[in-house]
Symmetry: C2
Subunit: 227 residues, 2 copies
């Protein structure tokens, strides 16, 4: 692993941690001095972060951490609704018993944490959920599909996502996991894809609807309050 690789990982991690907030600038000289590296590997890391969509370059001013609008989030969900079902559609005919077991254990673990329900448990669920999806992508065995998903499912979106879930939504998500496993075990790609589609759409609904809404979205606000 080269120094540029490490710098890439470090900056990305700091963006995720919030250490580098949205719209803030990553200074080449600053981080270079901190890590005791020259500008060369820093610049290379920043180039890769730009092409991966984590930062944007304002010419002669610097590399700015990108900020996510509501529209960005919706765009990502729109693409996940297409791609993630394709993951399990492929996985259904390729997954082996070992991988199925692994998925089962992850689901089991998540359900236990789900019963606890405290904030820390929710965080752990998010991590396990990422591993669940990663395992599926591995089973799908399509490097390009994996690359595309990695390019759009950036953690800023999915990291805190489970905190938006109501209890009902959370349990529904767990049931989705179980049903996906059953569909995969049955080798039924279309079944698995349908559940996954529902899974993503549910995540989208949870992310888009509950948090503080603006005034002009009063109609949906009312609908939510009514239930």
């Amino acid at each position: 692993m080269t120094a540029a690789d490490r710098v890439y990982a470090i900056i990305k991690q700091r963006i995720l941690d919030g250490q580098y907030p949205a719209d803030s600038y990553v200074r080449e000289a600053t981080i270079g001095h901190e890590l005791e590296l020259s500008r060369t590997p820093i610049r290379e890391a920043l180039r890769r972060l730009v092409s991966d969509g984590w930062v944007e370059v304002i010419p002669h001013h610097g590399a700015r951490v990108v900020s996510w609008t509501q529209r960005d989030v919706e765009e990502v969900f729109e693409l996940r609704v297409l791609l993630e079902p394709q993951v399990v559609r492929r996985a259904a005919s390729r997954i082996d018993a070992t991988q199925l077991d692994s998925l089962g254990e992850l689901a089991c673990h998540m359900e236990q944490l789900c019963e606890r329900g405290d904030d820390q448990a929710i965080d752990e669920i998010a991590g396990l959920n990422n591993r669940f999806h990663a395992e599926l992508i591995t089973a799908a065995d399509s490097p390009r599909l994996q690359r595309l998903l990695e390019a759009i499912v950036q953690v800023p979106v999915s990291r805190r996502s489970f905190h938006h879930y109501s209890d009902e939504e959370l349990h529904g998500s767990m049931r989705h996991h179980r049903e996906i496993i059953r569909a995969l075990a049955a080798g039924d790609g279309e079944w698995a894809a349908s559940v996954m589609r529902a899974h993503i759409l549910a995540a989208r609904a949870a992310q888009l609807h509950p948090p503080a809404r603006q005034a002009h979205e009063s109609q949906q606000q009312q609908r939510r309050s009514a239930r």
Copy 2:
């Protein structure tokens, strides 16, 4: 235009020409000396070629031109079948009259060239077809969708694709263009998406079936011979 930009274009062109064959290495010092540049701009060009998927870097060993297997081609078509219909699904509710006119002109031009039928005309059709799809992506107005498609629809796949078409397949492709335009004009995203799906699947069939097949694919070979 910087030196790195030129180097990028030159290397890409040479890969397309076959001057840099698949699995061969692009040496920084070699091309640097040839173009009378230092390694710095060459390295930057190579990085961009990596992120665009044209070459891959083996650390401390070099930049290798990627080789495409049959499986790679199928993976790309599998993803295009998902993503390109989504392009027109979105475009249907967003496209304006000017863009529709532009699409109509492109289709018209392609049809004229289609009547000529010689090799040069086929090449020109390929270029216009790319512009057709690019116009659709613009109308879809989704930067992420555009990025994903650009990441997978690389020219090695699409460049010579029309040469694999029979006359019937070529005319069918032209009819698809017309029908997509009609569907978009009607604002019917699902109609447009269905035609686009057929369009891509037809391209896949033309690309996968006709060229010389290997022995171990005898089953499909027989199927083809039978028709």
